[in-house]
Symmetry: C2
Subunit: 245 residues, 2 copies
Amino acid sequence: MNAAKQIRVERTNNRQEAGLVDRPAQMPSTQPDGSPLRRLPEIILQRRATSRFKAQEVPDTYLSAILHLAAQAPSGYNLQPWRFIVVKDEIGRRRLQKVAMNQKKVAEAPVVIIAIGMKEEWHKYLTHILEEGAKRGSGNPEKIERAEKGALDFLSHQKMDVWVTRHTMIAVTYLMLVAEAYGFDTAPMEGFDPAGVKREFAIPDEAEVVALLALGKAEPPDKAYPGRFSVQKTVFYERYGRNGQ
Amino acid sequence: MNAAKQIRVERTNNRQEAGLVDRPAQMPSTQPDGSPLRRLPEIILQRRATSRFKAQEVPDTYLSAILHLAAQAPSGYNLQPWRFIVVKDEIGRRRLQKVAMNQKKVAEAPVVIIAIGMKEEWHKYLTHILEEGAKRGSGNPEKIERAEKGALDFLSHQKMDVWVTRHTMIAVTYLMLVAEAYGFDTAPMEGFDPAGVKREFAIPDEAEVVALLALGKAEPPDKAYPGRFSVQKTVFYERYGRNGQ
């Protein structure tokens, strides 16, 4: 009896409107200059972390498309714990640079996105997200209470900083690859002082600052390719340590 | 004197050959049936986490391309802490299913990749990776000792489980999106017992089990789209909480 009551109370607390929406309808189908989108193998093989950016701005249509597509990233229970703060004002980028190891590219790039993961906010939305999903045909409307119990049990065993990093990084990788597909250059960064970033951009305590992504057009030359481990070093078959197929 | 000596000793310990290689030369330029690669906006808008897989295998050329491209993911100091265990044997997939909340798709998909992050192994390779990078034109050969000190200082302040998750998830997202570009279907998963996965696949203690990715061809119907937060909820401008541009 008590357990059932407790779940009911929790569910009420969790039922904040999440404002879920449909997929965006239309995305730009070419690069800004009309040339075709770059393909994934080409992007991955040619991409370098950009160290110097031109002042040239990212057109709003494209920035918006990049953000809308990143918002489609998958997440556990569809909880979408990532949030993005888009820093475009020069003063903001200079403030960010100061808490990001003074990296020149932070002030130079026309856009820098701060990616954070919210460790607690999902509690508010869990019920509504499950209900909305079921309404849209994903999940059984009869079993929402059970799904919610399962989710709460699973999440209570996760390290929340790791969990939000796992999901936020999928969305950050989407941002980076979509930007590259549209012909922009990017620089993902982990060199920052999280407390400083939070202070400067009014980010709540519960947030984990996960990554920064600078976005724009590269000022050549690109950094040289430093090599990668061969797949013999990083890919195993059937069990750890076993090479070949 | 003592500090300098200490650094020298560390550097010797860290200088294990990392076996870095160049980018792979040639990747398949079409899907297995000859149709063109799928483009990123289309992939992202249409992708659903696959819940049922056909038995149909992933051709080796394609599995190899997916793994080679994922190995190109960026990482801090190029340390590439991810490792992948490719599970194709049916017995292996059944063993994995048992430690992955008994999810049917784990045994059903022709390929499941276990993605892990190595929290300690990078120590061995740090010096060599920096030296190799400098040799290839990325980084100043005169300043390797300083770069190494900087890296060790930075990394000593990181939570290693978060740090390996950050990087491994970029590579996992590469795996997923490249597979989708080549026309395969995927299911990223976080529902597993990490200790069980480590035990069953001989994974070292230092590893963080980050994610599983099932790979193959979907058995229709696809799961319904559950909705996403609108970007007004997840994207802010200039400071946390501020909407619009």
